[in-house]
């Protein structure tokens, strides 16, 4: 039963008029309405009275966040907070656009799943990127879970919702998180240990694993064999004795053959460099020592590489290119030819129209610069098979031709993709092969 009526007028704390137009949805804490906010169509989240543990603190935090403004366009951030009315309050945010679904609806769905691994990888990059910005701004999300994201499964674009629990790292909004996504120390703390940036990083890794591997990272045979999941057993699995399903040192929680088919299949196909990051992210050390968790930059480096390794075979199947070398399509058996590669300081990537090189792929960098574009591989409009290398860095880059002649590439200029050309960017060498 909606708390607000159609046509009801509310006001923000700065006196802007809000007209309630339509009830959209209901959640645990409150309801969401479509409203007219100063002539614009917006969403209003309206809290159920008594749903919040500490409404005064919550209201203040909301007002502070709205005043500070969104750290990134990926967040459906509070635009404005309402005056109190009927013992409660709400906030205005952007409406969810068409074609976006909650991650919890996407995972395992037949109707609205990711159309491709490229889109899934893109979603992972955007999620990590948004959290990097959030954490760099001194916030922690505190309740990171599969209900927080609206994702476009066609493109991988991400909007982060439920931003009302976001608080300055170290402050308490009373929330602990969602079971299965809470970091072990939060589960074990039983309310005495509060979520922070490090616990966010556990939840983030779990979300990435779920998106890419279609299974919870701790739900292997131990989980399958639980006849009845009581709170006590859940505490053991997610809190006191967490064990990654692909922990190379202890296979006792490995996925169960013939049952957890999807994750076993995907693990077999994914590139080693990606799997090894997850092995590190869910190592006993990282599970039990919050300071040892993978940081956003670590993820960006590997995810950007992974995205560049996903190419489409002529049969339509997506192929994960291994070691930037020609890889056999696992569906039609034809080799997916890798004719060109870009050799970076740590590894090589497949060069195809649309491949991008970011700052974080050249090695250590400042996290803020991680996703700064350095270059892109482009194709000729009249000859799509012909490749070029575009300078996206905004700087003049120095290059050496195969015969040893020095050249300069101006910002946005394209040079032919000639094997043997070496480009210098940020004191690192990029070699076209």
């Amino acid at each position: 039963m909606p708390m607000l009526e159609q046509g009801q007028i509310l006001k923000t704390i700065s006196g802007v008029r809000i007209k309630v137009e339509q009830f959209i949805a209901e959640g645990g804490q409150g309801e969401v309405y479509r409203v007219d906010y100063n002539g614009e169509k917006k969403a209003l989240k309206w809290y159920k009275p008594e749903a919040l543990r500490d409404p005064i603190l919550f209201y203040d935090n909301l007002k502070t966040n709205a005043a500070k403004g969104s750290p990134d366009k990926a967040f459906l951030w509070p635009d404005a907070v309402t005056e109190k009315s009927g013992g409660t309050f709400g906030y205005i945010m952007g409406l969810r656009p068409e074609g976006y679904y909650e991650l919890s609806k996407i995972l395992g769905s037949k109707k609205c799943n990711f159309v491709s691994f490229k889109a899934a990888a893109e979603a992972c990059i955007r999620i990590v990127s948004a959290f990097r910005i959030l954490h760099n701004n001194g916030y922690s999300y505190q309740d990171l879970n599969d209900g927080n994201f609206f994702i476009n499964p066609q493109t991988g674009d991400v909007l982060i919702c439920d931003t009302d629990n976001i608080a300055k790292n170290g402050t308490s909004t009373g929330i602990l998180g969602k079971p299965r996504y809470m970091a072990p120390e939060i589960v074990n703390g039983k309310g005495k240990v509060l979520p922070d940036t490090q616990s966010d990083r556990y939840s983030l890794a779990a979300i990435l694993f779920l998106i890419l591997f279609n299974n919870h990272p701790l739900e292997g045979s131990h989980w399958v064999m639980v006849t009845c999941m009581t709170d006590e057993i859940a505490e053991k699995l997610y809190g006191t004795s967490p064990l990654f399903i692909f922990d190379p040192n202890d296979r006792s929680n490995a996925p169960v053959r013939n049952l957890q088919i999807s994750v076993i299949e995907r693990w077999a196909f994914m590139p080693e460099y990606l799997k090894s990051k997850f092995v590190t992210a869910f190592s006993q050390e990282a599970l039990k020592t919050p300071g040892k968790r993978l940081r956003e930059l670590d993820w960006l480096q590997v995810l950007v590489r992974f995205r560049s390794d996903i190419v489409r075979c002529t049969c339509g199947n997506e192929v994960f290119i291994q070691n930037a070398a020609t890889t056999k399509c696992d569906v039609c058996g034809k080799p997916v030819a890798v004719t060109h590669t870009v050799k970076l300081p740590g590894y090589s990537i497949t060069a195809a129209g649309g491949s991008r090189i970011y700052r974080c792929m050249l090695g250590t960098c400042n996290a803020d610069e991680a996703l700064h574009p350095v270059a892109a591989v482009v194709t000729r409009k009249d000859k799509p098979g012909v490749l070029g290398f575009r300078n996206m860095s905004g700087l003049i880059l120095n290059a050496t031709t195969p015969s040893g002649k020095p050249k300069q590439i101006k910002p946005n200029d394209v040079i032919p993709f000639n094997p043997g050309i070496v480009i210098e960017a940020f004191d690192k060498k990029i070699e076209l092969q």
């Binding site: 299965r180 309310g191 490995a254 020609t326």
Partner: protein, 259 residues
């Protein structure tokens, strides 16, 4: 490359209704219960049909003079769940219902699954005083049935004649008993309790919830885990196939219009 649509393996969450259909429920009371469950069908399908935490399955047991399952063949998935109206008449044999529940809450009966279960949710509804030897059956199920012990139990007391003391004993805590005289409220309660119980696994927790959650989440303790980690499953290999082939190169020199 594997499909992006792989199935996520879930545990089953049994949502079990135990409904008093004795003579005193005759008329608008049982009609309200029937109506509520009819309304609940599409709501559950929409709200929890695709939750990633669990697959909801339903069973319903009625008791009057004796006890009878509406879902005689065990738990029913949401897609297959269609409610045939219950009719009221007869005594209030709560003991018979508990005995029946005790038999079916078993791995040898209703609770069969490859992936295991979430703690069952038991929702009791009654408007009167039991006639049979319910205490003996309650003690029996409480002491011997681990599923019952682990279950999250809620009771809805309908009208002023419902014996709240007995319902409290049934669910283990007076904080898990809700009482209403109003039939419209009853309907909404049945829906709200069912939805929130189903979504419990997927809702965020607040600090201090462990204590307050016990209102409906009767302590799910016992030593269930002793028979959970004992079977060694066949585990998978980690290593994938090696896909490697020599790369090829070609050379050109051109400039032009670029995408």
């Amino acid at each position: 490359m594997p499909s992006t649509e792989g199935v996520i393996v879930k545990k089953v969450l049994p949502l079990i209704y135990v409904i008093d259909t004795s003579g005193s429920m005759f008329g608008d009371r049982i009609a309200s219960v029937n109506e509520a469950i009819h309304e609940l069908e599409p709501i559950l399908r929409e709200k929890v049909g695709e939750i990633p935490e669990a697959e909801i399955k339903i069973a319903a047991l009625t008791f009057s003079s004796g006890a009878q399952w509406i879902t005689a063949n065990g738990l029913v998935s949401l897609d297959d769940f269609f409610w045939n109206d219950a009719t009221a008449g007869g005594l209030t044999d709560l003991g018979a219902a508990l005995k029946e529940l005790n038999q079916k809450l078993s791995r040898n009966s209703f609770l069969v699954s490859d992936t295991g279960f979430c703690a069952p949710v038991l929702i009791f509804m009654s408007d009167g005083e039991p006639n049979d030897n319910w205490e003996k059956e309650l003690n029996n199920i409480k002491q011997t049935n681990k599923w019952f012990q682990a279950a999250r139990k809620i009771a809805i007391a309908i009208g002023e004649d419902a014996n709240i003391g007995i319902l409290t004993k049934l669910v283990g805590s007076n904080e898990a008993v809700i009482q209403t005289n109003d039939l419209e409220t009853l309907k909404r309660m049945i829906i709200a309790v069912s939805v929130s119980a189903s979504m419990l696994a997927g809702s965020s927790r607040m600090a201090g919830d462990a204590a307050s959650g016990s209102m409906i989440l009767e302590a799910a303790t016992t030593n269930l885990d002793t028979d959970t980690f004992t079977v060694a499953p066949e585990v998978a290999d980690f290593d994938g196939p090696d896909l490697m082939a020599a790369g090829t190169q070609d050379v050109w020199d051109d400039s032009g219009d670029w995408n």
